[in-house]
C-alpha cells in the first residue's frame, strides 16, 4: 500500500518559485520571505485574520497549476476599451502581473517608471520590501518569495501632476494559475499625484491574483489612489496595499469592488509623521456568490494626525461582505482624530455580512469614533417615493444609488467618479 502525501498550497507555491528569481538584488529579501512562508504557511481556517474569508481553501480547490501565469495576448483595442472615458492619463499596462512597457505610455520627463530589477539600490532603499512587511501577512510573504519582477514608479520632488496614472491590470489564465504583481511607488516631497488602478479579467476562467503595492508618501506630498475591481466570478484576489505617510502628507483611497469571486483587500496606512491625513473610502456591490473582504488598518504614530474612513456595501443573493477596520493610536499620538464608519444594506436573506471595528487607543487626548450598521432598505423612504408616483423598482434604485453615491462623492478625480457612478447606476438599473 502506498500513502500519498498531499502537498499543501504553501508547499506547491514554494516548489514553483521560478529559478533565478531568488538571486540578485532581491536575494536576501526573498530568502527571508521563503523562510517566513515555510514557518507560517498560508492562513488556516481558524486564523483570526482570515476566519470569515477561507481564502486558502478557495486556492486549494481552485488552483490546479502552481506555475506562474505567463503574459497573454492583449490587443490594443482591449486596452483602449479599459481607459476611463474622457480621462487624459498616463497608462501603465500589466499583463498577468508582467509590466508591458511597450503598451504603456507615460511622460518620461515627469515621472520615472522602471522594472524593479532595473531600479537603483538607492531608489529601492526608500521603502521597497520594508513598507509591506513580510511578517504582517502571509500573502505579502508569498508575493515577496514568488514575484519575478515588478515596477518602480518614482514621482520626483515638487511635482503636481495633473494627469492621473492609470494602472491597467489584465488577468487571464486558462489553467488556473497565479498572477504575482508587485509595485513600489515613491512620492517625493511636495508632490501630488492620482493613481487609478483597474483590475480586469479577460475571460471567465479562474486565476489567483496576489498583488502587493507599497508606497512611500514623503513630507508634504499628497496621494490619491483609487481602485476598481471588476473581476470574473471565479477569480481570487488577495491585495496587500501598504502606505507610509510622512509629516504633513495626505493620502486618500477609494476602493470600489463591483464583481469577483473571492477578494481580500488588506489596506494599511502608517501615519508616521504629525499632521498627516489618511482617508479611506470603499464601496462594494455584491451579488451572486461574490465574497469581498476589506481589512483596513490605520496606525497613528505621532500627534495631530487625522484619519477618516467610510466603507459602504450593498449585498444581494448569496454574497458575503466582510469589513474589519483597525485603528491604532499610539501613546505619543495625542490630538488624533480618527473616524470610521461601515454601513451596509442587505437585500437578501441569504447574504452574509461580518463587520468589526477594532480600535486600540493608548493616547488619552484623542477624538475617535466608529460605527457600523447593517439593515434592509428603508421601507418608510420607499413608501414616500412610491406615494409620489415613483415605481417601486425605480424608487429602490434611487435609494440604493443615493446610499452608494455617498462613497463615490469622496473621489476627487471627476472622470473616475462619474465612471464609477455610471457603473453603479447600470448595476442598480439592471435589478442589481
Amino acid at each position: 500500500m502506498t500513502t500519498i502525501i498531499k502537498n499543501t498550497p504553501t508547499d506547491l507555491f514554494l516548489d514553483n518559485i521560478p529559478q533565478g528569481a531568488s538571486e540578485g538584488v532581491f536575494n536576501q529579501l526573498k530568502t527571508t520571505a521563503v523562510q517566513k512562508l515555510r514557518e507560517t504557511g498560508l492562513p488556516k481556517a481558524k486564523d483570526e485574520e482570515y476566519k470569515y474569508t477561507p481564502i486558502s481553501r478557495r486556492i486549494e480547490s481552485s488552483i490546479s497549476n502552481f506555475q506562474h501565469a505567463a503574459p497573454v495576448e492583449i490587443t490594443q483595442e482591449q486596452i483602449a476599451k479599459e481607459i476611463i472615458p474622457g480621462m487624459d492619463a498616463e497608462v501603465l499596462v500589466f499583463n498577468n502581473g508582467h509590466f508591458d512597457a511597450q503598451r504603456s505610455r507615460w511622460d518620461k520627463d515627469a515621472i520615472q517608471v522602471a522594472l524593479l530589477s532595473e531600479a537603483s539600490e538607492e531608489a529601492l532603499a526608500k521603502g521597497f520590501g520594508s513598507i509591506a512587511k513580510i511578517d504582517k501577512d502571509p500573502f505579502t510573504a508569498l508575493n515577496t518569495a514568488s514575484f519575478e519582477d515588478g515596477v518602480f514608479i518614482d514621482i520626483p520632488q515638487g511635482k503636481t501632476l495633473k494627469k492621473p496614472i492609470l494602472l491597467l491590470s489584465f488577468n487571464q489564465s486558462s489553467v488556473g494559475q497565479t498572477v504575482f504583481s508587485r509595485v513600489f511607488i515613491n512620492i517625493e516631497k511636495h508632490s501630488e499625484i492620482t493613481f487609478i488602478e483597474k483590475i480586469i479579467s479577460l475571460d471567465e476562467e479562474v486565476y489567483f491574483l496576489n498583488d502587493v503595492t507599497e508606497i512611500s508618501v514623503a513630507e508634504n506630498a499628497h496621494l490619491y489612489y483609487y481602485k476598481l475591481q471588476q473581476e470574473n466570478r471565479n477569480s481570487i484576489e488577495v491585495s496587500n496595499f501598504e502606505t507610509d505617510i510622512h509629516q504633513n502628507g495626505t493620502f486618500s483611497s477609494g476602493v470600489v469592488s463591483l464583481s469577483g469571486g473571492m477578494i481580500r483587500n488588506n489596506l494599511s496606512l502608517n501615519l508616521l509623521g504629525s499632521n498627516c491625513e489618511g482617508n479611506m473610502y470603499g464601496l462594494y456591490l455584491l451579488n451572486g456568490k461574490t465574497h469581498v473582504d476589506n481589512h483596513t488598518n490605520v496606525d497613528h504614530i505621532l500627534p495631530h494626525s487625522e484619519s477618516n474612513e467610510l466603507y459602504k456595501g450593498i449585498l444581494a443573493d448569496n454574497s458575503r461582505g466582510v469589513f474589519n477596520g483597525k485603528i491604532f493610536v499610539r501613546q505619543e499620538a495625542q490630538k488624533t482624530n480618527a473616524f470610521q464608519q461601515n454601513n451596509n444594506i442587505l437585500l437578501s436573506e441569504d447574504a452574509i455580512l461580518n463587520t468589526k471595528p477594532q480600535l486600540e487607543i493608548w493616547a488619552d487626548d484623542v477624538k475617535c469614533s466608529h460605527g457600523c450598521t447593517a439593515g434592509q432598505m428603508d421601507d418608510e423612504a420607499l413608501f414616500y417615493l412610491q406615494a409620489r408616483g415613483i415605481g417601486k423598482e425605480m424608487a429602490k434604485g434611487l435609494l440604493l444609488f443615493a446610499f452608494a453615491e455617498e462613497v463615490l462623492s469622496h473621489i476627487k478625480n471627476e472622470e473616475f467618479r462619474s465612471y464609477c457612478s455610471q457603473q453603479v447606476q447600470e448595476r442598480l438599473g439592471s435589478g442589481f
Binding site: D379, A381, F383, L385, A387, R388, I390, M394, A402, E406
Partner: protein, 252 residues
C-alpha cells in the same frame, strides 16, 4: 370622485377602522377631525396604500377605479396625493431629481411625454412662488435637515408640482407656527379648482380658519360618528371632543 364604503382596516391584527363611509365630490373640501387615536391618520394611510395596514372589509373607489387594488405608485399616478404627517428625510436624493422623476413617472402613466429639463425647471419656478419655498431648500437632499415647517412646505410644493385630483393633508398643521400655517394654507387654497378635492385631516380647528371646509366629519373609534358644516369644527374647538364621546357612549 371618492367613495368609501364600510371601510375596515387593521394594523398587526388590531382593528383601527371599523366601518368608515365617506363620499367626496370634485371641488369639495372635507375636514376629518377626531381625538388622538381615533383613526384619522390611519384613514389617510390606507387611502395612500401604506403596506402595514390591512383592509379587512369594505371598498374604496376613486373615479370609478377600485383604489385598494392599486399599488401606492399607481394611486399617486391616478391622482391621489398624501401630504405626510412626518415627511421622510432621504439623504443623497436631491429634491430636484426626485421631483423630476416623480413628475415624469406620473406623466408616463398618463400617456404624456416627459418634461425636458427646461420645461421642468420653469414649472418648478412657477410653483415655488406659489408656496413661497426657498430655492436653497430644493438644492439639498430631500427633506434632509429641514425644519418641521420646511418639510410641510415641501409637501405642499410637491402637491403643487404633481397637481393631483385628490389631496389628503395628514395633520399638515402639526408643528407649524402661525406664519407657516398661513403660507401652507394659502398654497392649498390657490391650488383648489372645481375639478379637484381635498381631505384635511386635523386635530385642531386652527387650520380650518385658513382652509375653509365644505364638510366636517368627526371620526371616533374607527367610524365617522358625526358630520356637519364648518360650524361643527368651531363647536369642537370650543367644547372639545368629550361631548361627542358622551353622545356615542350614552345615546339619549
Amino acid at each position: 370622485m371618492l367613495s368609501i364604503k364600510n371601510l375596515h382596516a387593521s394594523v398587526e391584527g388590531t382593528a383601527i377602522l371599523k366601518g368608515v363611509d365617506l363620499e367626496v365630490k370634485a371641488g369639495e373640501i372635507h375636514a376629518i377631525m377626531g381625538p388622538n387615536g381615533s383613526g384619522k391618520s390611519t384613514l389617510a394611510s390606507v387611502l395612500a396604500g401604506r403596506e402595514e395596514y390591512e383592509v379587512t372589509e369594505g371598498s374604496v373607489t376613486f373615479k370609478g377605479v377600485d383604489l385598494l387594488e392599486l399599488s401606492p405608485e399607481d394611486r399617486a399616478r391616478e391622482g391621489v396625493f398624501l401630504a405626510f404627517q412626518y415627511p421622510v428625510e432621504i439623504p443623497g436624493v436631491s429634491s430636484t431629481n426626485f421631483l423630476r422623476t416623480a413628475v415624469n413617472q406620473v406623466r408616463e402613466y398618463r400617456g404624456q411625454a416627459p418634461l425636458d429639463a427646461v420645461k421642468f425647471l420653469s414649472l418648478m419656478k412657477e410653483k415655488m412662488k406659489l408656496v413661497e419655498i426657498d430655492q436653497k431648500l430644493l438644492s439639498r437632499s430631500l427633506n434632509e435637515g429641514f425644519s418641521g415647517g420646511e418639510k410641510k412646505r415641501n409637501e405642499i410644493f410637491q402637491l403643487a408640482m404633481l397637481e393631483p385630483k385628490l389631496a389628503i393633508l395628514d395633520e399638515t398643521d402639526s408643528g407649524l407656527d402661525i406664519d407657516a400655517l398661513r403660507v401652507v394654507a394659502n398654497g392649498v387654497n390657490q391650488l383648489r379648482t372645481p375639478e379637484n378635492a381635498t381631505i384635511v385631516v386635523t386635530h385642531y380647528q386652527r387650520l380650518l380658519d385658513y382652509i375653509i371646509p365644505d364638510f366636517v366629519h368627526v371620526i371616533y373609534e374607527g367610524r365617522i360618528v358625526k358630520s356637519g358644516s364648518k360650524e361643527l369644527a368651531m363647536e369642537l374647538e370650543e367644547k372639545g371632543y368629550d361631548w361627542i364621546k358622551e353622545e356615542i357612549e350614552n345615546p339619549a
